[in-house]
């Protein structure tokens, strides 16, 4: 290792430990992560390393939203939006490599004993116009996101906060009043799109002012966004002078422009591209493990999946290795019917499920489902979906189940399959296990694709949220995951790598960060050698 730059993408452990000391008696946030996950704390930087060098412009190609792109950080919807918002703005917290909340603009947080009042201390940070980031800005931003007239994406995540009762204690302290005990409140502050903007900010396309590591230079929707180093950033100024986001929707265009030296960073490449260029020396291929859960969602409230024996039979039908090899071209790892492999609180003690067609047939027979016919909804909406569907159809045929694959429109797929159908291809980006549960597995969850409605399961979630002790809370999460493993509706067969490519002179790109986490698409710690 070279002389250490004070770079927390390399030493997240240090920062985390430092934070724990500061936060004193807080419910040991991150402690389990420190103990349990050696992985994310390790060497975070890209191959090569070397001493960080200041200067240069990095051009990054993303699939984008075309001419309707906006710089409004609360409207982030796509990866390109998230990467741009991250350059220009900060959140109070963000997800570490194991999806635990890491402090950003919030220097520390402390709950009361009931876990329903959280005091958040802001660090000393300034917006690009020189004004300090204050509690008023935080409250304004959250109230804007929660505006009932708008459809901001983070609104659902902020739902636990009673924003009317929350207040600014002083300039740099916010007291959040919650509607109920929420042990995992830091996840709320780290939610996708929960960025802090200056009080009163409404217009973002002309000259957005944030507190992020880069300040605004120019923006042409659907084409290019240029930002430059903000020297007074609280986390240290970026190494790059400038950063340009360009939009290239076609994967071949992204990889070609990278190969041709027109960009230095290309987001979202296919496994085929990765195989063609990995280790050839022309470009670097970065695989972000555990980025996307790949699953089939069974609707547990209707036939045939309202019978848990049928669900278990389906768990046993899947040959996960074949699915990962075939549908993901081997770029991923097998799943165990649980979300969040490698994340904080993941129940990794459960035995790995493997294909067992005899047992599957037996279970189906017991459930009176011989010669079962099921329609599997799928679509081109995500890589590998249609391939996985046809592989699974063939696997199911061996167990005597007739699966009919139905391909739907990719523009409306998620809304179409939320309530209708019985079996559907499913995918999810990285989020904490707690968020996965609260958004998808509670009776009143807004996107409950498996129609998993169990009062006792809801009660366990509430119990976890009101348990201050981290170990006890982890035990509750494990109970919930055991239940999902045994009879849940998600057949999680794999976790896809998120693949990106960089030019050979790009250093400091984190390899361990799942897509959507703090160190993913983070350019303030990247330099050009």
């Amino acid at each position: 290792m070279p002389p250490a730059p004070l770079d927390d993408s390399r030493f997240p452990g240090l920062r985390r430990r430092g934070f724990l000391a500061a936060a004193g008696g807080v419910a040991g946030l991150g402690a389990l992560a420190l103990a349990g996950c050696g992985g994310p704390g390790g060497s975070g930087a890209a191959a090569g390393g070397g001493r960080p060098r200041r200067g240069g412009t990095l051009r990054a190609a993303f699939a984008g939203g075309g001419a309707s792109e906006t710089l409004d950080p609360h409207r982030t919807n796509l990866f390109a939006d998230a990467a741009r918002a991250k350059a220009l703005f900060d959140k109070l917290a963000d997800y570490g490599n194991d999806l635990s909340a890491q402090p950003r603009l919030a220097a520390s947080w402390e709950p009361d004993d009931g876990l329903s009042r959280w005091r958040v201390k802001l660090r000393k940070a300034t917006f690009h116009d020189g004004k300090p980031v204050t509690a008023a800005d935080v409250l304004y931003s959250y109230r804007r996101i929660a505006d009932p007239k708008e459809g901001f994406r983070a609104k659902a995540s902020l739902e636990p906060i009673d924003l009317k009762a929350s207040r600014a204690v002083d300039d740099r302290t916010v007291e959040f009043v919650l509607k109920r005990p929420t042990a995992e409140f830091p996840n709320v502050m780290a939610a996708f799109g929960a960025y802090i903007v200056p009080e009163g900010a409404r217009e973002f396309d002309k000259k957005p002012v944030g507190s992020g590591p880069f300040r605004f230079v120019s923006f042409k929707p659907g084409r290019s966004t240029v930002v430059e180093r903000y020297d007074d950033h609280w986390d240290g100024a970026p190494y790059l002078d400038r950063l340009e986001f360009v939009v290239a929707n076609e994967e071949s265009a992204r990889v070609n422009s990278l190969l041709g030296g027109q960009v230095e960073y290309a987001h979202e490449l296919t496994p085929t591209t990765a195989r063609a260029h990995e280790g050839k020396g022309q470009i670097e291929i970065v695989r972000l493990r555990n980025s996307a859960m790949q699953a089939f969602a069974m609707k547990t409230d209707r036939a045939p999946f309202d019978d848990e024996r049928v669900r278990e039979a389906f768990f046993l039908i899947a040959d996960r290795k074949e699915l990962v090899e075939g549908a993901l071209s081997g770029a991923g790892e097998i799943g165990n019917d649980l979300f969040g492999k490698g994340y904080e609180y993941y129940a990794d003690g459960l035995p790995q499920r493997t294909q067992d067609l005899d047992k599957a047939r037996h279970l189906l027979k017991k459930a009176g489902a011989d010669g079962l016919k099921v329609t599997l909804d799928t679509s081109d909406v995500a890589a590998g979906f249609t391939e996985a569907a046809s592989i699974f159809r063939d696997q199911a045929a061996k167990a005597g189940v007739h699966v009919k694959v139905r391909t739907g429109s990719k523009d409306t797929y998620w809304a179409d399959t939320l309530d209708s159908g019985t079996l559907a291809s499913y995918r999810s980006g990285a989020m904490p296990i707690e968020s996965h549960i609260s958004q998808r597995l509670l009776t009143d969850s807004t996107t409950n694709a498996t129609q998993w409605h169990h009062k006792d399961f809801d009660a366990l979630y509430q119990q976890a949220q009101s348990t201050k002790d981290k170990k006890e809370r982890a035990a509750v999460y494990e109970r919930m995951q055991r239940r999902l493993y045994a009879e849940g509706g998600f057949l999680v067969w794999g976790f896809a790598d998120w693949i990106l490519g960089t030019a050979r002179n790009v250093r400091g790109v984190t390899h361990q960060a799942p897509a959507n986490t703090l160190h993913w698409a983070r350019f303030d710690k990247v330099w050009l050698a």
């Binding site: 309707s68 659902a156 422009s257 960009v263 409306t412």
Partner: protein
């Protein structure tokens, strides 16, 4: 030019210049306006028939029903279709194309931003297309049945069979990635493509490939017919030079069908050339259209439909005028 030779053509042309022409143009324009309105209504009906709307598309993989309802209300999508159509058509009469559902920006800015690159590509392509395809067609016709003809005919047939996407990938692989002569994409250049002419070479080549083939073959066929016609034979009997017969007498007749094909080609170029724009990251109208459809951004789709509809009408009118002028006997129907 009509003073020398070709008495038949000259006589027919005089007739076309009379009052019949003006009423014919007026009829064509009225028809065109009707066609444009029909296109717009059809596009509106079709986008209504698409499953989902902008709210669903925006919600993406977070299809929270409450959020979708909120977006729908914010975008006024909860109003009935005929009200939205009426509001939009009312704006159109004042020259207002409306605002995008997803970004809230005026549709006009979408068109203004996208039109530059697309028109530049189309103009360059047409500028090269006409001389190249006419040249090839005449060349093949002159050497009918001999080696040059067979070469031109088989190459044009072969290239025509290659889809644009495959052809583009092939060109990029060879000329940009292997040889490194040209940039593989126009990424980051935005609409300032003229400042980077090297980035235009491959896209224009891909755009040229297929129209050159079809036009050259049309010109060749027309030329062979014209050269075999009685008036060409008559001109030859008068002892007029071969080149003169070819270019002044036969070519105009050969060009008439080609002009109409050319109009359709320009139409096709303007209506996106989506493949080329996507492959080379050129932010033109094709890209705008593709994104707008994916986002169910109806006002933008409608705005593009109006522009494309008008373009098609005007171009076809011009092509028919050209055809009437060059080959009046073809009796182009209104």
């Amino acid at each position: 030019m009509t003073a020398v030779g070709a008495p038949e053509a000259a006589r027919a042309l005089k007739g076309a210049r009379g009052t019949g022409l003006r009423s014919w143009v007026v009829r064509r324009l009225l028809l065109g306006a009707g066609q444009t309105v029909a296109v717009v209504l059809l596009v509106f009906a079709l986008t209504e028939a698409l499953p989902g709307d902008a709210a669903v598309a925006l919600a993406g993989d977070q299809p929270d029903p409450a959020r979708i309802a909120a977006i729908r209300e914010a975008l006024h999508l909860d109003r009935p279709a005929h009200e939205r159509l009426a509001a939009w058509a009312g704006g159109l009469l004042h020259g207002d194309l409306g605002t995008s559902l997803t970004s809230g920006r005026p549709v006009v800015t979408y068109l203004a931003n996208g039109v530059g690159p697309t028109v530049l590509l189309a103009a360059l392509t047409v500028a090269l297309l006409v001389p190249v395809s006419v040249g090839l067609g005449v060349l093949a016709a002159r050497h009918e049945g001999r080696f040059a003809d067979r070469l031109v005919s088989s190459v044009t047939l072969g290239v025509y069979a290659v889809p644009e996407f495959a052809f583009g990938v092939l060109l990029v692989t060879v000329f940009a990635l292997r040889l490194g002569w040209l940039p593989p994409t126009a990424v980051g250049y935005g609409s300032d493509l003229l400042a980077h002419p090297e980035a235009l070479v491959l896209p224009v080549l891909v755009l040229l490939a297929r129209p050159v083939c079809s036009l050259a073959r049309l010109v060749r066929a027309g030329m062979i017919d014209a050269l075999a016609s009685p008036y060409a034979a008559q001109a030859r009997r008068y002892g007029i030079a071969g080149a003169r017969i070819r270019y002044l007498h036969a070519l105009p007749n050969a060009v008439a069908p080609a002009a109409q094909q050319l109009a359709r080609t320009i139409d096709w170029l303007l209506c996106g050339v989506i493949v080329v724009e996507a492959l080379f990251v050129i932010p033109g109208l094709g890209t705008v259209l593709m994104n707008a459809v994916a986002e169910r951004d109806v006002p933008v789709i409608q705005g593009l439909a109006v522009v494309f509809g008008l373009t098609a009408v005007v171009l076809n009118l011009a092509a028919d005028l050209v055809a009437r002028r060059f080959a009046p006997r073809a009796g182009v129907a209104a």
